[in-house]
Symmetry: C2
Subunit: 210 residues, 2 copies
């Protein structure tokens, strides 16, 4: 299998972590998003949406959307489960992951910042927008973990919640967000980053890192 990604893409980072947690090795194919390589003709033939990540299976099937890829991985490689527990526990894990994947990440990604610049906003204004979105999204995440136990988001093992949290925290730090109001997610993020599957997926360790 080939994972088409970019070292700094938060969505690709999620898939790298999930692959590592499952012990699944893939070939990594980087596409430089800031240089627009995801819109190159050869890549568009593979994934007409021009987005990363995309997982290219050995039979040529291409799967898109990080959470759909991760659900596929969880179904085809069940251990360890990334969304464990009772139906309600699963819904809490998914609710946390989607608070990041729907309400936070898409509203601060490259495409949105590009649209803001096109409307005449400065780099500082675009970055302030991204910082606000990260702050508000992570404030929700902190609330969603009220009453849960650590060290990870939902207890003793990492789940899809941690898979989504760690890349978003990296973004928040990059945009200069003050994380001190969010001690529970700061602790969960630190615990997860110390886990080998998360550590090996870090952007700075990828071959295309700058």
């Amino acid at each position: 299998m080939k994972l088409h990604g970019y070292f700094r893409s938060g969505a690709a980072y999620r898939v790298r972590i999930a692959l590592n947690l499952k012990g699944v090795e893939v070939e990594h194919v980087p596409h430089h998003l800031r240089k627009g390589e995801q819109k190159a003709e050869a890549y568009l033939k593979l994934n007409p949406q021009g987005l990363v990540p995309a997982l290219e299976l050995d039979d040529g099937t291409v799967l898109t959307q990080s959470l759909a890829i991760i659900d596929w991985l969880d179904e085809t490689h069940p251990l360890p489960p990334l969304v464990p527990g009772t139906p309600i526990e699963k819904a809490k894990i998914r609710g946390f992951a989607l608070a990041i994947a729907c309400d936070t990440h898409p509203v601060q990604n490259l495409g949105v910042l590009k649209k803001l610049r096109a409307l005449g906003h400065s780099e500082a204004e675009a970055n302030a927008w991204a910082a606000d979105v990260n702050h508000d999204g992570l404030a929700s995440c902190e609330i969603l973990l009220a009453g849960t136990s650590g060290p990870y988001c939902f207890g003793a093992v990492p789940t899809l919640a941690d898979v989504c949290l760690v890349p978003q925290m990296a973004n928040a730090r990059r945009f200069g967000v003050d994380l001190t109001p969010f001690p529970r997610i700061v602790a969960a993020d630190a615990a997860a980053r110390a886990h080998p599957a998360f550590a090996a997926a870090a952007p700075d360790l990828q071959p295309d890192a700058e």
Copy 2:
């Protein structure tokens, strides 16, 4: 169970459709988003995030995030399955649903348009942003259905893909997006809206519709 929603919320609309497809009856509790009722003290006690939809179970548990609620519903009420098929077929359905739920809906919702107005943009500029986002998101959706058969997004029965498509198409029409370049999703949307479960969930038929 109680579904906390708002007639025009696309995310609440998804959950209404899913509940109808499963034949699950709930009490509908509307919160007027444009009047800020989702930030009222009593509601924040229930859902500190101040978002709709939220599904309040009979034991008091509150589930948030439309797709997490729908996955919970699909697990606890398996028939008809909303994400049917092989692991790859499931990943295609989920990929389509997430192209809407992550890449489209959050970038054109009330919160983002409010942020644009706060930056000094006119109502017309905010609406143009929303129309662009809907156009681009639905263009991806049209591509994702290439090679699939109808009448629904992924064949003979409605799935999570249709549950996400119909509310987004309603938004796109509201923002004046020209849908003629997207015949496949226009046809799938029409087929789904003719289905009783989708028809009964339409915003205009809800008790809080204006």
